[in-house]
Symmetry: C2
Subunit: 276 residues, 2 copies
């Protein structure tokens, strides 16, 4: 089993976790709470200039772990696939502007076509944006999503599929973002994490919990310790597999978003220190 966590030095919070806050509020409030890493959701980039964001980050000693999210490559119509490429190229630029070394990809899926075709289009899409990512010094991480999102959000639903695609494309800039919410149930998880680690492709680690019962498919995630995921076990596998990066708290939760967000941030720290 992994060592207990004693400090916040590897805690990263996704801005979407505290959705009621603006990017500026996230930066100021995380830093005031002793949290010095965040992953930025793209819609928050609209409120500030890149220069303002960089200044705020620097002033609060804030490390930007990733930009969330690119992807959504598959579509029946070519003009839609091209539009997705443009959007991903924009995301790469945005990541470079705010100093995020990684762009997370929610790869997409089109319910009007087969999963196989969607995966082919994901492969093509990633291949098209990789040269620009490389040029900009930005890594890309495929985030396999839970199979309940297979129809319209991601045709990549397991670590095995993510590993397969990373191996097929075979580029040092491409790896995997592991999110326990999506992958905890998979009996092959341990071996596929090790396979990914062996290939040095473990690029990110997202934590939260699976509430029982789950009241909503999207916005009823739990904080670590709230649900049934054996988080310490999965963290130990990640570490055995060679991952030593941030643990990113990514929680979408109508009930936590309804709380006072300062009090919630304290709960996040407690859950991180005790149940991750």
């Amino acid at each position: 089993m992994a060592e207990s966590i004693h400090d916040l030095s590897k805690l990263c919070v996704h801005t979407q976790t505290t959705k009621p806050w603006s990017l500026e509020e996230c930066i100021r409030n995380y830093a005031a709470a002793g949290i010095h890493a965040l992953s930025v959701w793209r819609h928050l980039l609209e409120d500030l200039s890149f220069a303002e964001i960089r200044k705020l980050m620097a002033g609060h000693h804030m490390d930007v772990v990733s930009l969330v999210r690119g992807g959504f490559f598959p579509a029946g119509a070519k003009h839609k696939r091209d539009a997705a490429i443009d959007d991903n190229l924009l995301a790469i630029e945005q990541a470079a502007e705010i100093g995020a070394p990684l762009l997370v990809l929610v790869c997409g899926s089109d319910p009007d076509q087969s999963q196989e075709l969607s995966r082919d289009q994901i492969r093509e899409g990633i291949a098209r944006i990789l040269p620009e990512a490389r040029k900009a010094g930005i890594k890309l991480a495929i985030e396999p999503l839970h199979p309940m999102y297979a129809a319209d959000r991601s045709a990549i639903t397991t670590m095995a599929q993510a590993n397969n695609m990373v191996e097929q494309i075979n580029d040092r800039c491409l790896g995997v973002a592991v999110d326990v919410f999506h992958l905890w149930w998979d009996p092959d998880l341990k071996q596929e994490l090790f396979r990914c680690g062996q290939a040095e492709s473990l690029f990110a680690f997202h934590v939260c919990d699976w509430n029982v019962p789950l009241k909503d498919m999207l916005n009823d995630r739990g904080l670590m310790g709230d649900g049934c995921i054996n988080l310490k076990q999965i963290r130990s596998w990640m570490e055995e597999a060679g991952f030593d990066g941030y643990r990113e708290v990514e929680v979408f939760s109508d009930s936590y978003w309804a709380m006072d967000q300062q009090a919630y941030l304290e709960k996040i720290k407690h859950a991180y220190l005790n149940f991750t």
Copy 2:
């Protein structure tokens, strides 16, 4: 690709599909609509004696395909696991009484323990009831459920896991119930169906569709053709794998249950003939 379906001879409807109807209404109305096979949900057994049910079935030339459902083996406390065994033994008796050759198992999962331990308890539970099933001439089918139910309904979430368990227990009375709702997304589905067919363990085939978006995790299933599942493809794999039994329509749907059920039954037949 499989042949088109031209008649209703292999259509079976689950009583839960037309949930507003009593068992007697299901039997009378299905038969009047030209449907002569059904799978019976256990709570409907409370309203009639076994003799009455047998008489109704015979009088309407109704074939009973399966009794739904046993299972739910895992639990932390031994007395709960023992109670589950008792309930499964009762289900075997009930199946024998109404002439159902098969009992479908929703295997269960306990969110307070690991999936591995839950699977161990499923294996033990099945091993304990198999001798009684064999004596009664009742087959048992493990139904792998979608991973979104892994926490509290089934620690068996893929065909691969179901096949593994069937191979481990290795008893001619134990096989698999394939439900497209649970399994459609799995990239290994085809090969695992073939593996199951090779072992002569394909015991049942449940059809419906996956609505996009899915509004409810339990009761928003679509009729065949409503959603994104490539049903004809999966049926062709089943048939190539050697399955030639009933296609069982199992749809849980608040919106269809709110319809006039006679009109709905006509929709079921149409969906079966055109989109299965």
